[in-house]
Symmetry: C2
C-alpha cells in the first residue's frame, strides 16, 4: 500500500497486488496463480499482432470448405463444382467485412467490439443482444475448434476414431487447466504456432498447385466414402444457400482485431488496420486455395478424414513427415483458437457486468473465484456440447455462425449509425462517447455506405443461416439468444431498483441507537462462550445468555458454571422437552424483537469454533447461519459470530 493523500478526514492509499496464496488443492492441480496474469500485456507490432489475433479466423479454414462439401454431397459429386463459386462469394463477403471493420478500428482506438459499438450507437437492447450472441459464440468456438482439431488427429491416426469424444474433452480440460493456472499471454507463445501454420498451409497449397501444373498431382487414394450416398437429391437454391451458410463459418474470428486494438504499438489504429488487411488476405487466399485443391484432388467430405488430410496426403504422397507437419500445425492453431475464447469470455462478461447486466462481481479482475467460475463454466458447457454432438463439426456448425453474424450485423449497423451522427455534427465540435470521440468527417456518407453494406450483407447471411439451418439446430440459438437477453435485463432491473431503494434523496436520518440488547445463545459454558461474552461486554451492558436445554441435568450444570464464570450476566434457560433447538431460540428472540422500540437494536452474538480442518464445520451446529436465514426480515436484529480458535 502506498500513501497517496491524507486530508479532510480522507486517506487515499494505492494497492499493489502480490500473488495471493492459493488453497492447497488448487496449488496441486493448477499451481500458484501468476501475479502477472492480470497485468496488461506489452504492446505488439504488426507481425506478432497478426499471430495473436489470427488464430481464430484462420483456423476456421480447417472446417469451412469441408462443411460446404458435406452439404453439397447430398446432390452427388457433380454438385461439388458449386464449391468454387460459393467460396468466391464468401471471399466477397470477407472483403466487405474487412473494409467495414477497418473503419471500426479507426473509430474505436480503445477497442470496438460488437458490444461496445452497439451500446454506444444503438442502445441497450441491441448491445445486450450482441453480447448474448457473442457469449454463445465463444462457447461454440471452443466446441467447434476442438472437434475440428481432433478430426485432424483422427485423420492421421484412424485407430483413434472411436476415442474422438474423449480426446476432445481432454483437450478442453487441458485448456481449462492452463487458463486456471493463469495464462501469461506473451506474443511469442502465439507467434511460433501461428507462423508454423502459415508456413505449412502455404507450402501445402504451393506444392499442390505446383504438382498439378507439372501434371504429377493425381487424386486422393482411397477417399473416405462415409458421407457419399447413392440417393442423390436435385440441386436446389436452398441447398446451395445451405452450403454457403456452412461456408460462412470461415469468417468467424474476423472481428478479433477490432476487439484488441489496445494491444498494438502506436500508431495502434493504423497498425491494427494493416494487420486486419493482411489477415483477410491470408484467410481469403487459404480459403480459395483449399477449395480449388479439394476440387483438383477429388477430396470427399467425411467424418473420418478431413479434406485437409486428404489434400495433404495427396500433395505429399502419403502420411509422411510433411503430412504430419501440416496436420499438427492445423491441430495446434485450432486449439489456440479455442484458447482465445477462454480469454474473451470473462472479458466480455466483465463488460456486461460493468453496465449492470451481469453480476457486478464479474468486473473484479483479480477475484480469482469469479474468473475460475467463468473458465470452468465455459469448459463444462463446451464439453457437454462436444459429448452431445459426438465431437462432430458438421453437427455443431448449425449452432455456430448465427451468433457471429448477429453480432457482425449489430456492430456494423452501429457503425453506420455513428457515421450518420458524425455527418450531422458542426465541424470543429467534438462529442466524447465512452468508447470513441465523434467529430465531423467530410466523407461520412462513403463510410456509412460501407458499414451499412457490411451490416446488410451479414444480416442477409444471418437470415439465410437461420432459415436453412433452423431444423439442424439453429433453432436452439434462435431461442436461446432472446432468453439470455431477458435474463440480462432482469438482472439490470434488479440493480436499478436496488439503487432507487438505496438512494439518499428524501432520506431522513433515523434516530441514534439508544439501547443495544445482546443475546448470547450458549450450548455450554466453556472458553468459546467466554470469548463471546467478553466481546458482548464491549458493545453493550444489556446482555442475556440463553441456553436451550434438552436435558435437565445438563441445564443444571450450565447454571452452576454460569454463576461462576458468567460475570453476573443474566441467564435464560429454555426448556425444550421435544428436543427442538432452533425453534425455542427463534421464538425467544422474536418475542423480544416484538417489544423493542425503533431506537433499540438486538445483536445476537454466537460463539463459533474455528478449526484448521475444514470438514469439521459439519460437526457443529451452524446456529448463526440458521438464525440469519430465519430472521432475515427483521431489520433491527444483527447476528454475529465471535470466532474461537481451536487447534489440532
Amino acid at each position: 500500500m502506498e500513501l497517496l493523500e491524507e486530508a479532510h478526514g480522507t486517506t487515499v492509499l494505492r494497492h499493489h497486488p502480490k500473488a495471493p496464496p492459493a488453497p492447497t488443492w488448487r496449488r496441486w492441480v493448477v499451481g500458484n496463480p501468476l501475479a502477472t496474469a492480470d497485468a496488461p500485456h506489452q504492446t505488439v507490432g504488426k507481425l506478432v499482432g497478426l499471430a495473436v489475433f489470427a488464430s481464430d479466423a484462420l483456423s476456421s479454414t480447417a472446417y469451412s470448405t469441408q462443411e460446404v462439401l458435406i452439404i453439397l454431397a447430398a446432390a452427388g459429386i457433380g454438385a461439388f463444382n458449386f464449391s468454387i463459386p460459393i467460396s468466391l462469394a464468401i471471399v466477397v463477403l470477407l472483403t466487405i467485412l474487412t473494409f467495414s471493420y477497418e473503419q471500426t478500428i479507426h473509430a474505436y482506438p480503445n477497442g470496438g467490439g460488437a458490444y461496445i459499438v452497439a451500446r454506444d450507437n444503438l442502445g441497450e437492447l441491441p448491445a445486450q443482444t450482441a453480447g448474448a450472441a457473442l457469449l454463445t459464440d465463444y462457447i461454440l468456438t471452443v466446441s467447434v475448434s476442438i472437434s475440428s482439431g481432433v478430426a485432424q488427429i483422427v485423420s492421421a491416426y484412424p485407430t483413434l476414431y472411436p476415442f474422438r469424444v474423449e480426446i476432445a474433452v481432454g483437450f478442453v480440460m487441458f485448456i481449462m487447466l492452463i487458463n486456471l493456472r493463469g495464462v501469461k499471454e506473451s506474443g511469442f507463445t502465439f507467434a511460433i504456432p501461428t507462423y508454423y501454420f502459415f508456413l505449412m498451409m502455404t507450402m501445402t497449397i504451393g506444392v499442390g498447385f505446383f504438382r498439378y501444373l507439372t501434371g504429377s498431382l493425381g487424386t486422393v487414394v482411397n477417399p473416405p466414402m462415409d458421407m457419399m450416398t447413392t440417393m442423390v437429391h436435385p440441386i436446389t437454391l436452398f441447398l446451395i444457400l445451405r452450403a454457403f451458410a456452412s461456408g460462412t463459418t470461415a469468417l468467424t474470428g474476423v472481428e478479433a482485431i477490432s476487439n484488441g486494438i489496445t494491444a498494438f504499438k502506436e500508431p495502434r489504429s493504423r497498425n491494427a488496420g494493416i494487420t486486419l488487411l493482411w489477415m483477410s488476405l491470408l484467410l481469403g487466399s487459404f480459403l480459395i486455395g483449399i477449395t480449388v485443391l479439394c476440387h483438383l484432388v477429388g477430396a470427399l467430405p467425411s467424418e473420418e478424414e478431413t479434406v485437409f488430410s486428404q489434400i495433404a496426403r495427396t500433395a505429399y504422397n502419403g502420411r509422411g513427415f510433411l503430412y504430419l507437419g501440416m496436420i499438427s500445425a492445423t491441430t495446434v492453431i485450432l486449439v489456440m483458437a479455442a484458447n482465445t475464447a477462454f480469454a474473451d469470455f470473462p472479458r466480455l462478461g466483465a463488460l456486461h457486468a460493468g453496465d449492470g447486466f451481469l453480476p457486478h462481481q464479474l468486473t473484479f479482475r483479480g477475484d480469482r473465484l469469479v474468473f475460475s467460475r467463468g473458465i470452468i463454466a465455459l469448459a463444462v458447457i463446451s464439453s457437454a456440447l462436444i459429448i452431445a454432438f459426438q465431437a462432430s463439426v458438421t453437427n455443431l456448425i448449425p449452432l455456430y455462425a448465427i451468433g457471429v453474424f448477429l453480432s457482425f450485423t449489430l456492430s456494423q449497423a452501429g457503425m453506420a449509425r455513428r457515421w450518420w451522427k458524425v455527418g450531422h455534427l458542426t465541424p470543429g465540435v467534438e462529442i466524447k462517447e465512452p468508447g470513441s470521440t465523434l467529430r465531423y468527417e467530410s466523407n461520412w456518407q462513403y463510410k456509412m455506405i460501407i458499414n451499412g453494406l457490411g451490416s446488410l450483407c451479414t444480416f442477409v447471411v444471418m437470415i439465410v443461416f437461420a432459415v436453412t439451418k433452423f431444423k439442424d439446430g439453429a433453432w436452439v440459438v434462435v431461442l436461446l439468444t432472446p432468453l439470455l437477453v431477458s435474463i440480462f435485463f432482469s438482472i439490470h432491473h434488479h440493480y436499478k431498483s436496488l439503487a432507487e431503494h438505496l438512494s439518499l434523496e428524501e432520506f431522513a436520518d433515523e434516530p441514534r441507537i439508544a439501547r443495544h440488547r445482546v443475546i448470547i445463545p450458549i450450548a455450554g459454558v466453556h472458553r468459546g462462550t467466554l470469548a463471546a461474552l467478553r466481546y458482548a461486554r464491549s458493545i453493550s451492558d444489556d446482555i442475556t445468555a440463553v441456553h436451550v436445554s434438552m436435558d435437565p441435568e445438563e441445564a443444571k450444570r450450565v447454571q452452576q458454571k454460569w454463576e461462576q464464570w458468567g460475570d453476573g450476566v443474566r441467564l435464560v434457560v429454555l426448556e425444550s422437552p421435544y428436543r427442538l433447538f432452533i425453534e425455542p431460540l427463534l421464538e425467544y428472540i422474536e418475542k423480544i424483537d416484538d417489544q423493542i422500540t425503533p431506537s433499540e437494536m438486538i445483536t445476537v452474538v454466537v460463539p463459533r469454533f474455528v478449526h484448521s480442518k475444514h470438514l469439521t464445520s459439519y460437526l457443529h451446529t451452524q446456529t448463526a447461519d440458521t438464525l440469519r436465514k430465519n430472521l432475515l426480515n427483521r431489520k433491527e436484529i444483527v447476528i454475529m459470530e465471535v470466532p474461537y480458535q481451536v487447534e489440532g
Copy 2:
C-alpha cells in the same frame, strides 16, 4: 413459552412447539410439516403392536424361500428337496433368537436395541460396530424390500418387467416424500395392511394345503425357466450353507420389537414379550408353509416371477381376484418394511450423535433440516443400490443379512455379559446403567446360556454368510463396516479434543476489551451504508469507512457524499488500479490487525442487502463471507453483517 422459575439471575422457560413455517417450495412438494410428528406416539396394545413391528420381519418371507431355491437351482431341481430341512434349521435359529430377545425385552424396558445393549455391556467399539452394521442394514432393508415388492408387481403384470428399476426408484421417492412430509405413526395405519397380509397369507397357505389334501392342487402352469440351467453342479456342503445363508434373511426384523418396547401399554415388557412370541410363531409358520407349498406345486425360482406369485396362481387357479389380493398384500407389507427403515435410520443416528460419534445436530428432534438430510440420504443411497443391482433381490441379498447378524451377535453377547454381571452382584444391591437396572437374579446362569447360545449361533451364521457370499458382494460390507466405525471414532476424537480445548480448568480470564476498532467496507454511500454506520456508532467511537476504488471518478463521488452523510467518520480510499476488490481490503485489515494490542478488537461491519427473492444474493458480492474465510485464523477480528431490507 411458559415461565417456570425466576431466581438468582436465571430465568427458566418451557417451550411448546408449534408448526414451524416451511419455505414455499417445500410446502408445494411435501406440504407443511406436521407439528405432531415429533410428539411421542400413543402406547399400543399387543394386537396393534404386532402390526406396527412385524412388517419388517414378516415381509422377508416374500423373498427368503425364493433366495434359498435360487442357490439350490445351481444343483438342479433335485436339490430343491434341501429347502425343507434348510427352512427347519432357520426356524430353529428363529426359536433361539426369540428366547434370547425375550430376555432383552425384560432387561431393557426402555428399549434394548443392539447399539444400547452393546454399549452398556461391551464398550464403545462393539457398540459402534453394531451401530455401523445397523445403519448399513437399514439402507439395504429399503433396497431389498422395495425390489422384492416390485418383483411381486412384475409377477402379476409381466409387461412391466423392463420398467422394474424405474418403478422401484419411484417407490423409494414416494416413501421419501411421505417421510419428508412427516409421518404420523398411528397404529391404525399399520394395522390394516399388516392384518390384510396375515389374512391373505393364511388363506393362500390354507387353500393350498386344503387343495393338496383333496388332490386338486396340481403344479405351476408354465413355470418361469430363466434361472434353470442344464449345467448341473454337484450338491456340496458349501452350496447348502450358501442356500441356508440366503434363507436367514427371513430373520431380519426380528429385533424390531426390542427397540420399541416403550410403545407398548403397561406392563410393557410383558406385552412386548408376548407380541414377540406371536410374531415369531407367525413368521415360522409362514416360512415353513411357503417352503412346503413351493415344493408341492413345483415352483421355480426366477427373476421374472416370484415363487409367491407361482404359489398364489396355482392355489387360486390363475391371476384372479384372490391372486391379486395376495400379491397386493405382499407388495404393501414390503413397502411398509422399507418405510420403517426411514423411521429407524435417523433415530439410530441420534443415538450415535448423543454419544458423540456422529454430528451432534442429529440429536435435535425438530431440526427438520437435519432429519430431511438423513431421509434424503437414505433414499438416494438405496436408490443407487437399486439401480446398480437392477432391482434384483438376488443380487442385493449378499450385502444384506451380514450386518443384521453382526448386530444380533453383539447384542446377544452383550446380554450374556450382563447376566454374568448380574450373577456376581450381592442380592439386594442395584446398579443403574443408562439403559437398564442390574439386580441379582438366581437363574442368571440359565439366562446367560440362552443369550450366549443366541450370540454363538448368530455369530456362526454371520461367518457362514460372509464366507459363502464373500465374492457375491459380502466383501463390500466386510470392508465398509470398519470404515464406518473408524469414521465414527474420528468424529468422537474431534469432539473430545474440542472439549479439552474449551475446558475452563486452568483458564485465566483474558483482559477486558479496551479499544474496539470498527471498519466498514463501503461500495457507495447509500441507505445500506448508513444503516451499517448507525450500527457501528452504537458499538464504538473508533470507526473507519473503507472504499475500494477501481474508478477514480466513482471514488470522488463517494468522497463527496461521505462528507455530507458520513457523520464525521474517517474515510479511507484504497485505489486498486488492477481492479482487485477483496485483496486490498484484506491487506488493509490485516495491516491494522498486526498493530493492535491484546486488549483491542477489530469488528468489520459489512452492509448487506436483504431481498425477498433468494436468487438475487448471487448478484451481490458476498464480502462478509469472503472476509470470514480469509480472516478465519485471526481471533481478534469479528465480521458482522448489518442487514438492510430492500423490497420488490
